[in-house]
Assembly symmetry: C2
Homo-oligomer: 201 residues x 2
DNA sequence: CCATTAAGATGACCTAGATCAATATCATCG
DNA sequence: CGATGATATTGATCTAGGTCATCTTAATGG
């Protein structure tokens, strides 16, 4: 498959912007990417964080244009995977088609979990869930699940979880006071995993 | 394509339940269906309402098992569309594959809009958005966009929108007081469409 | 290397919507 | 058809998280 081996992307550079013609999906090679939409009244909604090894950009398929924008939260590298090639290939290799369906379906499942989180859980539960998710994704990348660096700002966390920065800050504060977490700026250390899991449920 | 022409489904009967093996997606023929998940702590989250002409059941593709349950909110009829046939066919007919990708991608876009709604909008804005969505979907079915019957209960509306029944009730009350809506139980009449659209944005 | 700006933390206060409770209305079935 | 349980409305009160304001710390650049 022809894959564009992307040059490094600097912090705050867009991989693509909402409205652009959809041509490709992308794989994160290094660094981290956030997806977000801008609603018609101008406010930003962060829809996802993408870590190395993860695929993003599938939101563009429906309308032939991306509905999200995607930008590097830190210096990053991405692989471009042209969708047309993918379609041709997936006709020749049915398992690839299936794989791709699964990726999209997984995205749906993820979004629905976020919907539940937003409509049913408290600020603490939301933050705990995000931390656990990042921890798990780090584990899958052979990294530590207990000590890691958050690639995103407090503002991005708040935006993603439907909370204000202040609330995110306070929740981190409470988590530290309970000796569940050690927080040093973006550096996180999980001290009590059971408690975190219990909160995230 | 072999399509199961479903016998009528009675109110509160499941089309499928979470955990069942994924075999098919479904099209609503008449009546209305709600999808919901049950989170590990037992609470229900309504993830979507499906009206005649709409497709549901795509959440099962990722894990070969449905993650949602789907049940009839009133007497309904659905068509079963076996996914294996769909896959075979979509290899022969690339446009069908594309069409199916689009359906899934649309689902992603929908979910992301709901995420924004839940994390950024007030109770009134949420309810207005749902009403407008149902109105629009009725229009596409050649039905009135101004007078229609809500197929779902207040509890389902609240659950879907991350609000309590009481709040939903009060919002309907306020909408009536403002002469924007006429509400008689589940029967809705939109009196001021501009105001509704403004709220829904 | 300091200046400027952005990011984060913390406190005081307020409000939208939750919770609790009482009542009213509807649907269903024996 | 009247009784019973589900569904909806309405009111009184409470609270999680928002808002606003201040202060601290960390990046960035000239």
């Amino acid at each position: 498959m022809k894959i564009q081996r992307g040059r490094p992307l600097h912090k705050d550079r867009h991989v693509y912007s909402a409205g652009e013609e959809f041509k490709s999906v992308f794989a994160v090679r290094s660094g981290s990417i956030k997806s977000y939409t801008v609603s018609n009244d101008g406010q930003e909604q962060v829809t996802g964080f993408h870590l190395p090894g993860e695929i993003f950009g599938m939101d563009g398929i429906a309308h032939n244009h991306y509905t999200n924008s995607a930008l590097a939260m830190e210096t990053a590298a991405v692989c471009e995977i042209p969708f047309s090639k993918l379609q041709d290939l997936s006709i020749a290799i049915p398992s690839l088609q299936r794989h791709f369906f699964q990726l999209m379906s997984k995205e749906i499942t993820n979004d629905q979990q976020l919907i539940t989180l937003l409509s049913k859980n408290s600020a603490e539960e939301r933050v705990a869930t995000l931390l656990l998710s990042i921890s798990n994704r780090n584990l899958r990348r052979q990294l530590s699940g207990t000590r890691f660096r958050l690639p995103m700002s407090r503002a991005d966390i708040g935006n993603y979880l439907g909370l204000t920065v202040e609330t995110v800050s306070r929740v981190f504060g409470r988590f530290q006071k309970q000796d569940m977490l050690k927080v040093d700026k973006k550096e996180i250390e999980v001290l009590d995993f059971d408690k975190l899991r219990a909160l995230a449920n």
